[in-house]
Symmetry: C2
Subunit: 382 residues, 2 copies
Amino acid sequence: MEYLGKRYLFTPGPVSVSPKVLLTQAQPMTHHRLPEFSEILKEIRENLKYLFQTRKEVYFFASSGTGAMEAAIVNLFSPGDKVIVVEGGKFGERWRELAETYGLTPVVIKVEWGKAVKTEEVERTLKAHPDAKAILIQACETSTGVKHPVHEIASLTRERETLLVVDAITALGVYPLPMDELGLDVVITGSQKALSLPPGLSFIAFSDKALNMSKNSRLPKYYFNLQKEKNAYEKDTTAFTPAVSLLLGLREMLRRIRELGLERIFKHCEALSLACREAVKALGLEIFPEVPAESLTVVKSPEGLNTGEFLKFLRDNWGIVFAGGQGELKGKIFRITHMGDQSPFDLMVALSALEMGLKKFGIRVLLGEGLKAAEEVLEKYL
Amino acid sequence: MEYLGKRYLFTPGPVSVSPKVLLTQAQPMTHHRLPEFSEILKEIRENLKYLFQTRKEVYFFASSGTGAMEAAIVNLFSPGDKVIVVEGGKFGERWRELAETYGLTPVVIKVEWGKAVKTEEVERTLKAHPDAKAILIQACETSTGVKHPVHEIASLTRERETLLVVDAITALGVYPLPMDELGLDVVITGSQKALSLPPGLSFIAFSDKALNMSKNSRLPKYYFNLQKEKNAYEKDTTAFTPAVSLLLGLREMLRRIRELGLERIFKHCEALSLACREAVKALGLEIFPEVPAESLTVVKSPEGLNTGEFLKFLRDNWGIVFAGGQGELKGKIFRITHMGDQSPFDLMVALSALEMGLKKFGIRVLLGEGLKAAEEVLEKYL
């Protein structure tokens, strides 16, 4: 009967975390230099390779995802280095800001928010700037829900010296992004997304090509110094104090991911995202991104809806938390995630709140139409 | 991503418990004879009066609800005493079995399972047995979902010496049952129902009329001896070791109930049960009980459905747990509760699983019809 305070988190990070993981994290504190903790680290590191679909080492930091983005920059480059930045949203902007902060020379490919970058444009830019050290891109641009064509772009960088540095924070573990197979040079993710953990951990893996480039990097780095982490890795420990509780939760989730298998998890996200998109369309609304990722559904706010008030109402009165738009998209979109500890039935919670909420706010929707459309997709998967 | 093990409990006890209560119960153990625990007991006892809508004392036991039913019998009666038992389901049977176990003389009013007892029949029985010490009845017969006319029957016992002993285990806190106002003589409930707590606590309150009768009771009693509890109550303690963690959870829930107010809680249950019934009917199914209680919706299994397999499938594959029928109703009904830590949106989870599950099992249903009907009811309350 706590229901009037019950919350349903449909934000694209933090996401809902399973009770089992929460309980795991509530275990008594242990010390990270104990032999038993080395065993935990070994298991985690092995299973992270499975998640990243790589044979390379995967490093983690106690930081938000942005920390791992910064780690990529400071470990790979030197002042003045030219980098191509795909900027089609808030997180593309972040790549540019990071590049500028460290005195790099960003060549920005501006992409209209909501559109995916064209592979041909990336190719043209690469040809115009053969000295570019890397392409910095998002696999999924969380602010717009766009899926960039990382698979295609990888075929361009594979044949060049230029690295492909992929912020896969809201993509890894959602849809296939096999690092080694595609030849991605840097892959980054965070704990509070598909890993369905609380925020606080970031992850990064380097290809051999990236490792080679990192040897010549002259940017200052201390906490995010991958060489330090590599040395510690070899001794089954970490360079600095790790986020012990989060790592216990991570071990649990990685076990679960291996047990289920990536294929099954990708199917699950596909089912939820497809069902949600069909529901949104059945309600007469539009999907915002040109090429939507399975990580979240981004909905164009319908004409006449005060989006801010709408989201506030759902949150404060019904406990349903969607995310609004960021930056230039504030008030124009809202976002429903498919990451986190969600069953297909949780989507019904989101969609029912969406239908009833829109109607309450004077938008013409037929109750039940969205739910029906979602069920018609889901039944093929269930 | 724990979702493949995610569970949604729609059984009429145990019910879902809010995370806040679960965390409260996870506090370090305390001792029940410490002064601070007396303060906790005082608060609980005061708030239980609010829940029972009585000025009398409300006692609790570490036991299931059946323990409090047994407490009623052993504290009120003497061997050979005549009692009228309303028997229209598994819990009516329990009253009769308890009466027989203690050598009482039950006069049984047999009611077809699924029907409510007729007040006139109770009146006729009372007239034929003016020496009956009590009527033993359920407010809500959980096995059939029936609401018996306790309000009307109370008007018969108020003018007589006969007591009205009400098993309100799945009724108190769900719909109005004001003990003092109606003149109910004994009211019983359990923790794992409307109180939205784990099982393990039972509750009982006696009117003055019941207290008077209990003075002459000659049945043996030790653990369930109310006089012992009354003595302990006066010293702000309990006769035996209480279920400490559960009581901490109880304190939390009772605070929440006072904060929300009974009226609001009754409205919530009314909304959920009405919405669920309309959804069931929209799917072409029938409601089983003649007079349904708001505590749970009991659905007649449609022709051709293997109910056992259906419920097992929902449970094992989708994590949705409904209750089947008990005793003679096994395979003929299934039950969806509206008690516990549920928001109106949780009903969408239940109904979506119901719709898609029925279709999967070959029952002709139109996807979305149940959900739509539910939303049309809920929007009037939300």
